[in-house]
């Protein structure tokens, strides 16, 4: 089987999607001729033509609003916004229309569309290029919010998003585009949206994360294992719908939970997970639920990124703290 990076796996998913359904189209800034700023759409304009892989004017609200009209009109647009910090000009369209048209029209009109947003830091980028705003989208009723952390999941979740009858905000961890490789099947397959993945089974503490932070979380689990601590690792993969069952089953077993995310702490999605744990398995807990997150600061520029991003050390320390309780 082919071994692909996440970038290639996403490209493959788009290729398969365009191939399978003539209503699927890609649109966004620089997605055509140059294949996108991260080359995720590389080669697709040549293969499918500029009417299906469309370079747009630099106008995020227009991209999403027009994609919305295309979706209501029967197309299956996959819109790319270059960075999460550039999704804010489109936020009005997403929150006021994309997420609401099914309800506004009581199922008469729907917007089956995918909004792909490269996100997250760790690449020393300029301001606005490192944001993690997934919780804002998760807080918006009517959207599904998906975050893959492996090439296999990236392809399967993107195809599931393309096939989904409702709009999906598809967050792509920039730092993972080329960081890991794994076997990725050819052709169409879907990974169900709304299912977390227990990546590693363990007995002592549950580490819960998603996106690029899965890298640090895996390493932290390795480090803990070296010291004889058995950590269970859950890749949430889908914030909405959130797989509460998988998380509560795990925490009921281990009695301890550490939630790791890159986004700022206050009202981050970690708070939602902690509340879910409190609601469903408080009496199984052996220790307070801890969060290892970015700070409530603007994402720092290159020279200070390391201060912000949760480190393996911080995750290990939090896990130890739950074990000491």
């Amino acid at each position: 089987m082919r071994v692909l990076t996440m970038a290639k796996a996403l490209n493959d998913a788009l290729d398969v999607g365009l191939e399978k359904d003539s209503h699927v189209m890609i649109m966004g800034e620089d997605v055509g001729r140059t294949g996108g700023v991260f080359r995720i759409t590389d080669g697709l304009a040549e293969k499918y033509g500029e009417h299906r892989v469309v370079d747009t004017p630099v106008a995020e609200s227009g991209i999403i609003g027009v994609a919305f009209g295309l979706a209501v009109g029967g197309m299956r647009p996959v819109a790319e916004l270059q960075f999460m910090g550039f999704s804010y000009p489109a936020f009005d369209q997403i929150i006021s229309h994309v997420s609401r048209i099914r309800n506004r029209s009581q199922h008469r009109f729907t917007a089956p569309m995918v909004i792909r947003i490269p996100y997250g830091g760790g690449i020393g980028a300029a301001e606005h290029h490192s944001e993690s705003a997934e919780a804002i989208y998760a807080h918006t009723p009517g959207l599904k919010v998906v975050v893959p952390s492996t090439p296999y999941d990236a392809k399967g979740l993107l195809l599931a998003a393309i096939a989904d009858p409702d709009p999906v905000v598809f967050c792509e961890p920039i730092r993972l585009y080329r960081a890991v490789k794994e076997e990725v099947p050819e052709g169409w397959y879907e990974v169900e949206i709304g299912r977390a993945r227990v990546e590693r089974e363990g007995a002592d503490v549950t580490l819960i994360s998603w996106g690029a932070m899965m890298l640090e979380t895996r390493k932290a689990a390795d480090r803990l294992a070296d010291d004889g601590v058995s950590a269970e690792v859950i890749d949430v993969r889908s914030l909405v719908p959130f797989d509460a069952e998988a998380v509560t089953a795990s925490v009921s077993k281990t009695g301890r939970a550490v939630i790791v995310h890159e986004a700022p702490r206050t009202a981050g999605f970690g708070a939602e997970i902690a509340a879910t744990i409190a609601e469903h398995c408080l009496y199984s807990l052996e220790a307070p639920v801890l969060r290892v997150t970015g700070w409530d600061s603007v994402f720092p520029l290159k020279r200070s990124e390391h201060q912000y991003l949760p480190s393996v050390e911080r995750i290990v320390a939090a896990a130890r703290k739950t074990l000491e309780a």
Partner: protein, 342 residues
């Protein structure tokens, strides 16, 4: 500014259609005004939530719809009930929306009209997408989006106009310049001498018409529709009209405008000039007027009765259209909601 029918009913040049169609559209305008006045009255009785009247803008809306094919898309606003109705949206659903019922946003399957946009300007890009979708799918359907002068200051006006022109989609931008955006007069909305001239910057034709002139509006929209359908791309039409009522029932226009201005525009009434024209062609009399007014009243009364007889959404149903299939967390919330209402 293009004009075909003067305020005193005089024809300038040729009429764009025959007397029979003129009578039909006159009747439609009478129905529209009946609905609008009923809306204002019902709101005062507390039977509708906020109502945004369109009195004075009937020709702009009925004339525009008359120039479209029945399956062309209409993407309009909270002040466009006449336009939406003329394209197939039932009165009772327009009322239902105003009574505060989500089902008012759900027109029958064959009606190509989006529920009215409540935010200002954001819907114009949707019309561009719809027109583009039709073009990509090889149909000859086009889209018309309606908005006010205030909406032309929104960023999405620019993005919609730009996308439409760049991709040469069959989208008609119909601006009903009614002089006021709540309290802001047209002169302070934009420094441009006309709204139509904004089209030049986007590389599309711009037409300014007398928006109270049924013939001129029809002609301009027909010209734009023909161009759109034959692949000639978008057009901006500025229909110069006047909002004779308040912005909504929550607004008091006496705080910001001179009632004399309203009086002046009442003399340029869009319905009256067609009545005079028909009368001069022997196609109008008191008897017919009384008959269509009675028909309109009956139809509008029936519509509000239908809207008010709909039972409200049942317990938990406010969640049922969030997704095609309710995910587990919404199923759980739904159970909790229903339980809480017991």
């Amino acid at each position: 500014m293009r004009q075909r029918l003067t305020p005193s009913g005089g024809l300038v040049g040729e009429a764009p259609f025959d007397i029979q169609l003129t009578r039909r559209l006159y009747r439609a305008m009478v129905f529209a005004r009946t609905y609008d006045r009923k809306g204002m009255a019902l709101q005062k009785q507390g039977r509708l939530a906020t109502y945004a009247p369109f009195e004075g803008q009937e020709a702009a809306q009925i004339g525009a719809a008359a120039a479209l094919e029945p399956n062309d898309w209409v993407v309009a606003t909270y002040r466009d009930a006449a336009l939406m109705w003329a394209q197939g949206y039932p009165w009772e659903l327009l009322f239902a929306g105003r009574t505060g019922d989500e089902r008012g946003g759900s027109p029958p399957e064959h009606v190509p009209v989006m529920p009215p946009s409540i935010t200002v300007g954001g819907h114009m890009v949707h019309a561009v997408g719809l027109a583009w979708a039709e073009k990509l799918q090889g149909t000859d359907r086009i889209a018309l989006t309606s908005f006010g002068d205030g909406a032309t200051s929104e960023g999405d006006f620019h993005e919609a106009m730009n996308f439409a022109a760049v991709y040469e989609v069959g989208c008609i931008f119909l601006c009903q310049n009614n002089g006021w955006a709540i309290s802001l007069p047209r002169e302070r909305q934009t420094k441009s001498a006309t709204i139509a001239e904004k089209a030049i910057a986007y590389g599309m034709p711009g037409i300014q018409v007398d928006g109270n002139d049924l013939f001129a509006v029809y002609e301009a929209v027909k010209e734009a529709a023909d161009r759109a359908r034959s692949g000639g791309g978008p057009t901006l039409i500025e229909a110069v009209t006047y909002r004779r009522g308040p912005h909504t029932t929550s607004d008091d226009p006496n705080r910001y405008r001179d009632p004399a201005e309203v009086e002046e525009w009442a003399r340029r009434d869009p319905i009256e000039r067609v009545r005079i024209y028909l009368s001069e062609h022997g196609a109008w009399d008191d008897e017919w007027q009384a008959a269509i007014e009675a028909e309109a009243q009956a139809e509008i009364d029936r519509a509000i009765e239908l809207a008010e007889s709909m039972p409200p959404l049942g317990p938990g149903e406010i969640l049922d259209a969030m997704f095609e299939t309710l995910p587990p967390h919404l199923e759980a919330q739904r159970r909790e909601l229903v339980e809480g209402l017991r």
